[in-house]
Symmetry: C2
Subunit: 335 residues, 2 copies
Amino acid sequence: MVKRATIGDVAADAGVSTATVSRVLNGGAVTEATATRVWEAVSRLEYTPNALTRGVFAGRSSTIGVVIRDLSSPFYLDLIRGIDEVAAANDSLVMLANTFRRVDREVAQVRTMDEQRVRGLIVTTGEATDGRTRRMAENGTPCVIIARSVLDAPPGMHSISLDNVEAGRLMAVHLAGCGRSSIGVVSSGRRTSQIERTAGLRRALADLGLPLPEDAVMVAETEDEVSGAVDTLLVRGRDRGEPLDAIVCTTGRLTVAVHAALTARGIAIPGDIAFVTMDDFPWATALGITVIAQPSYQMGLKAGELVVDRPSGPVELVFAPTLVARTSCGERQKA
Amino acid sequence: MVKRATIGDVAADAGVSTATVSRVLNGGAVTEATATRVWEAVSRLEYTPNALTRGVFAGRSSTIGVVIRDLSSPFYLDLIRGIDEVAAANDSLVMLANTFRRVDREVAQVRTMDEQRVRGLIVTTGEATDGRTRRMAENGTPCVIIARSVLDAPPGMHSISLDNVEAGRLMAVHLAGCGRSSIGVVSSGRRTSQIERTAGLRRALADLGLPLPEDAVMVAETEDEVSGAVDTLLVRGRDRGEPLDAIVCTTGRLTVAVHAALTARGIAIPGDIAFVTMDDFPWATALGITVIAQPSYQMGLKAGELVVDRPSGPVELVFAPTLVARTSCGERQKA
DNA sequence: CTGAAAGCGCTAACAT
DNA sequence: ATGTTAGCGCTTTCAG
C-alpha cells in the first residue's frame, strides 16, 4: 500500500518549508518561481491535501449535512438536487443520511452530523431532534428544518415549509369545481404538515357547504395500511348514504399505494371516483393524475443558501403550493 | 455564539487528564468512579466529540463517499438506499455527490472525496475518474465502480455491474415470444452498459432469425432528444417496409420520455407497438410496463459491504437481470 | 517573500 | 488506573 504524500513531503521535494507550500496551495504571497517548484512537487508526488486536517483547524468541515426521513418520497429527491446544486457551487459536498422513518435513527444521525462538524445541517426530522439542532445553531452551525416551522427559533435555526392549509384549500376548491361532494382522505400520520393539509381541506370544504366528517379521514402509516384505509373510507361513505366520489391523499409518499388500491378494486378514475394527491412526479402526466405540487427543487436551493449565506436572525420561509390539474378529477378538457 | 466544549474542557471539569476522558469515551480501562465523573462533565458541558480530529489521527474519515451521475434515475435511488443501509449499520454516513452527467464534475467530485479521506468510494462515473480511483485504491481506500467493469483492477478496486448482454437477450426473447418482429431501440449513449445491452439484444434477435438493422437503433443523450429519435425510428421502419411493432429503451432514465413520445403520437401500447424498458419503478405496475429489473438495492448492499469489509483482491461482481412481464408487450394474460 | 514554531482537538505510547 | 508527552497534517502568527 502506497503511503500518501503529506504537505511535508511536498515541502521537502520542492526544497521549501511547509508554510510556503500551504501558501501556494491557498493563494498566499509567493514568488512565481517557488510556486512553480511547489506545483511540480505536488504533481510529482500526486499530493492530495487532507480536508479533514483543514477542517480541524477551521473548526468545521466544508460539507453540508442532510438528514432525510424517507428517501423514496418524490419530494426529497428534488430537494436534494437543489441542495446539491448550491453545495457544488460552493465547493461543498452533501453528506446524506436516511432515517427510514425511525425516530431513534433521526436522533443518531443528527448527532453524527454534529460530530462531523458539518458546515450546516438540513433536516426533515421531527421534534425529537430539535434540542440538538437548536444547540448546533447556537454553536454557529446553521440548521434548516424542512416541512415544519419551529417555535422560538434561535438565530441560525431556520425553517422552510409549504403553506399546507393552502394546499388543502386548493384541493377542496378544485374538487368542488369538478362537482365532487363526498370526499375521503388518506393521510399519513400525526405530522403537522398532514394535520394542516387536512384542516385546510376541511375548512375550505365547509366554506363551500361541504362538511368533511371526522370519520372520512383515515390515517395510514405505511403503504401496507393504505388498502385497508381505502376500504374503510368506501364503506363509511356508503353507510353514510353518500358514496365517495373523490379520494384525497395528503402525502406523496402514499400516492402509488392509494392509486393501486383504487384500481385493484376496479374503481375508475375519475369515472367512479376523483383522485388528487400531493407532490408532482414524472409519471403523473402519463397517468393524468392531478396533484398539488411543492416547489421542492426551489426549496432545496433556498435551504442550501441559508446554510451558505448564514443570515443572522432565524429565517422562516413558507412556499406556496400550486395545483397541477390534469384529468383524474374529471376536469373538463379545454376545447 | 456559544463556544463548543473540547476534550480539554471536559477533562478540566471532571478533574482528570484528556487521556482519561478519551479513554472513557472510547472504552479504555478506567475506574467506574472516574467514568461517572467524566460522563457527568460530558453532559454538563454538552460535549460532542469532533469526528474530524479523530479522522486526522486515523488517517481517514468514517464516511462512505458516493458519486452519482444522475440522481433522477430510478436505479440510483435504490442503490443509495442499499449503501445507506450498510453505512448505518457500521456507524458510517454517506457522502453524496451528484454530477449532473458532466465529466468535469465527475472528476472534481471524486477528487473532493479523496481530499475528504473517505473510508471508501462508490462511483457510477466514467473512465475519466479511473486514474484517481485506481490511486485511491492503492492508497488503501476501497473503491467500487458501479455499472461497468474495470480492466486490470488493482487490489481494493472493485466493480459491480449488470449482465447487460443477458438483459438484451431477455428483451429479445420476450418480444419474440409476444410475436413482435420489427423492433426499434432508443439507447442513451456510448457507455458500455448501453452498447452491451444493444449487442445482447441484437445477437439474441439474430439467433431467432430476426435481424436488427443498424439504423433501427437511435441514441438520445437527453430527454429532449427522445421524441425526435422515436420519430426517426418510426419513419425508418415504414421506409423499410416493416413498420415497427416494438420499441425497446435501454436505459431507465429515458423511460418516461419514450413512453410520453409514444402516447403523444396516439400510439397504443401494446396495441400498436410493444414497449419494454430497463429498471423497475413503482409506477410500472400501474402502467403495465414490462421491464428488465436490476437488483439495485442488493447491488447497493454489496457495494457498501465491499467498502466495509475491504477484501484483499479486486472483486468483480456481475448481477443477473430479471424480466418483469406485465402487459406492455401484449403478453397474453394468465387464465 | 520565506521559514521557524506554535497549535487546532484528539489519540496513543510510555511512564508512573 | 491515570497522567505526561508526543504527535496526526495542516494553517497561521511572527520573525527575519
